[in-house]
């Protein structure tokens, strides 16, 4: 039997009081695109739903100097409707375009996607590549900033304490990166990623900076640190790409599941990385 309760706080402070009162039973409800299927499937039976969907403090996309701020209850559709996101963060824009389907995008939120911490979370890949920080708040720990690279600890698990609420995601805009995002699923819409990859390279004769984020290829979305280190300072040529892809394969740890086998995901990763690398070099979709 399902036993849930529901509260609708009118401001963040009230939401934080409620969550500190109910602790592990508390669930922040915004888009509910994961909560309701989990309730229907019996995965979630006993919870206190704290409805944050109308809290203005959690909305909005803004640019403050060199820093971009995205409120946690920003929907994926709102990202796509934002000229700031489209013009300044093509990696995030591309990932949003490939997120679920247009109707689900009207409800699913950036904060919810991160908090649910699926290894295949489609917002995590671009936000990891953008070196994002997650700004969270709770009554006992106050306001704190967590680097997204330290945020995920396992499938469905984050470093958040049960009483913390994600307020927003922030990242600094970096110039002159060329980026490529690719997601592979069983179908075009409503697909859970088999693998997704976001690559950002800053090239001035040699590779000056490299960022590579991956989804659905490890227990959490990850950055491929060793591959990035290897790429730094190298000439962007085929030999480097081949070597980098070998290093990359040692950094991932995919599982076999209903969507694909481990072996398939490994080969897929190699091919997606090369596709991204070549696309950036050829300037195809060379989004800077």
């Amino acid at each position: 039997m399902i036993s849930c309760d529901y509260f609708k706080p009118s401001e963040v402070g009230e939401a934080l009081k409620l969550v500190s009162q109910f602790k592990e039973r508390a669930l922040f409800a915004a888009g509910c695109t994961n909560i309701l299927p989990d309730i229907h499937s019996g995965k979630q039976k006993d919870c206190v739903l704290i409805d944050i969907s109308d809290l203005e403090e959690l909305t909005g996309i803004s640019k403050c100097g060199n820093s971009m701020r995205i409120g946690s209850s920003t929907t994926i559709s709102e990202l796509l409707d934002s000229s700031l996101i489209r013009d300044e963060t093509p990696l995030l824009y591309e990932a949003a375009l490939n997120f679920a389907d247009p109707v689900v995008r009207n409800r699913a939120t950036v904060g919810g996607n991160l908090a649910y911490a699926s290894p295949a979370a489609d917002m995590a890949v671009p936000l990891l590549a953008l070196d994002s920080r997650v700004v969270v708040q709770s009554l006992d720990q106050g306001l704190r900033e967590i680097s997204l690279r330290e945020f995920f600890v396992g499938p469905g698990k984050t470093v958040l304490s049960p009483s913390e609420l994600i307020l927003r995601v922030e990242f600094n805009l970096s110039q002159n990166f060329k980026v490529f995002y690719v997601k592979v699923g069983k179908r075009n819409a409503m697909a859970i990623s088999l693998a997704s990859l976001g690559l950002a390279l800053k090239i001035d004769q040699t590779i000056k900076d490299a960022r590579l984020a991956l989804g659905a290829l490890a227990p959490t979305p990850i950055r491929a640190w060793r591959t990035e280190d290897f790429l730094m300072g190298k000439f962007p040529e085929d030999k480097v790409m081949e070597e980098a892809s070998e290093i990359l394969l040692s950094e991932i740890n995919p599982i076999s599941d209903i969507r694909g086998s481990r072996e398939y995901r490994v080969e897929l990763t190699r091919s997606l990385f090369k596709r991204a690398f070549r696309a950036i070099l050829s300037g195809e979709r060379g989004l800077s």
């Binding site: 309760d5 529901y6 695109t33 309701l36 389907d101 247009p102 409800r107 819409a189």
Partner: protein, 187 residues
């Protein structure tokens, strides 16, 4: 012990007040409390799109919204568009193009298409395909649905070439009646 809360939701501008459980979906409220059975329940987990309604001006899957989140808010189902120029154009186009087969996906398809055309009145075919990609049709009638949305946007002449002999010729008066019945949904 059941923990009911009272909500009032404006379903097609008619206020419906009923007790709901905290985890109850807007879809369950619409079908079981508001009698709005034109909203279909397919997968009940956000995959199929048959339960799509207009909420806060956007097409949403009502199985993914808590009934309590719609408290004091407007929800439009396919029955809430009487006299709406764009929706009537879409419905007529669905009928003309044979875009309705079993009809189960139709209410959701129409609402997704409606919200899409409102924001993007002159779409490409690719954009139409993306727009309805969250709505499944298991009669595999996508081509005719895409034709219908395209024709609603650009007028009848625009798709005559594309569909050529695709749609069956049925006398218009007869089809109107049948179509209207199908599109409103029965049970």
């Amino acid at each position: 012990m059941k923990n009911y809360k009272l909500v009032t939701i404006f379903v097609n501008e008619r206020p419906v007040t009923a007790p709901v459980e905290p985890h109850e979906s807007l879809l369950d409220f619409l079908r079981h409390k508001a009698g709005a059975v034109e909203v279909k329940c397919g997968c009940n987990q956000g995959d199929c799109g048959t339960c799509t309604v207009l909420f806060k001006g956007k097409a949403v899957k009502s199985c993914l919204v808590l009934a309590l989140q719609a408290n004091e808010k407007d929800v439009r189902t396919i029955k809430g568009f009487t006299g709406d120029f764009l929706m009537e154009k879409l419905q007529e186009s669905f009928v003309r193009n044979g875009a309705v087969q079993c009809g189960f996906c139709t209410p959701g398809m129409l609402i997704s298409s409606y919200a899409f055309l409102q924001a993007n009145p002159q779409p490409t075919r690719e954009e139409i395909k993306t727009a309805i990609s969250g709505n499944l049709c298991r009669c595999t009638g996508y081509k005719k649905i895409i034709d219908a949305v395209e024709e609603a946007a650009f007028g009848e002449a625009s798709t005559k070439k594309a569909t050529s002999s695709g749609s069956p010729e049925i006398s218009e008066g007869q089809e109107e009646v049948k179509g209207t019945y199908l599109l409103l949904g029965g049970g």
